[in-house]
Subunit: 193 residues, 2 copies
Amino acid sequence: MTDGVAERSRPRDRILETAQDMFHKHGIKGVGVDAITEAAGTNKMTLYRHFESKDDLIVECLRATASKASRIWDEFEAKHPGDKLAQLHAWVQKASELLSADSRGCDMANAAVELTETDHPARRVIKELKEAQREKLVALCRDAGIGQAELLADTLSLLLEGARVSMQSVGAEGPSAQFVRMAESLIASFRAR
Amino acid sequence: MTDGVAERSRPRDRILETAQDMFHKHGIKGVGVDAITEAAGTNKMTLYRHFESKDDLIVECLRATASKASRIWDEFEAKHPGDKLAQLHAWVQKASELLSADSRGCDMANAAVELTETDHPARRVIKELKEAQREKLVALCRDAGIGQAELLADTLSLLLEGARVSMQSVGAEGPSAQFVRMAESLIASFRAR
DNA sequence: CTAGGGTGTTACCGGTCTGTAACTTTCAGA
DNA sequence: TCTGAAAGTTACAGACCGGTAACACCCTAG
């Protein structure tokens, strides 16, 4: 009713999906477990039967989000089978869609900003997942025949990361509006070397 | 004693400085007013005599931080009077020093991530101050004789913003390690156009 | 010396937070 | 139809949060 989540799924799935959404919109420290369970159409006890703690829920949410994101890479391969350069351009395109569709940035980066305790269980997960994403982008650049693949991948990563956080500071009309142009001319200049 | 702030200054100044430091290290929602006043060697009542609310304190902290940052620009002009291109390289150098000295990124960007309420008083301040910084960098690029000054400035902004948030996710050995190389080759390529 | 503003101290308010206990209801499968 | 696990309900514990009231203290300007 007040709920955007498919009503008849298992409570654990509803909690996970609702928590992802609410953490994303309001920040991790900006939403309590009561609010999550209420929005998920269940209650706190059920949450704690499925998750050890809020921290555990956070970790599971990050893993779920990363898992969704990794499915996007399969789309690239499906749409441009074998054509790695086209897949790289598709990456840029997809990134720009993310920017225009959603102004709250990357859940993992946001979590890293919010969870300042150096030993927070989510921090190792964030690092692990971000490094996996980096590896994918490096491999894509390399397979697209670009010489300095690592450098291009890292530059594109920083540009996107910067665009997603810049949107949260100054909005979509700020520097992030030029993301596609920046990324494409970067790729062109790396290809020309 | 447990306190890094100069002991004998006015309580208001101590609170402001301590709050900046603690907000930076632990995040805005990660530190309470009690902890701030205790670290500042004073008490909560004194804080509320000088600041209307925690939100007001947050805003003043952001303004103070931005004011410190703007003094850096004076250094550029002092060290390389009239030589705008040298000042731009000094900006890159200074940015990389920020990256190696501190892994908690930009206070304004972090605040934008944490304070998700769209009508939070800090949000307009963040936008305002970030836009002012952007204007400065655009002017510097233009005065350095670069044609597409806005595009270079925005690209450098996104790179730095991305580097500062990337450090918080994957650490200093991640993509942000290449920031100087990226920035310098960007400047070179814009100058060659 | 004295008046008064800035500061410190203590206690408190109402609210929210994570997490738990004890109990009841629902519902699917044997 | 019976059983047993999953889920819902209510209440609560203990801590912390932002913010305020009332009062005692100091210390400097006059």
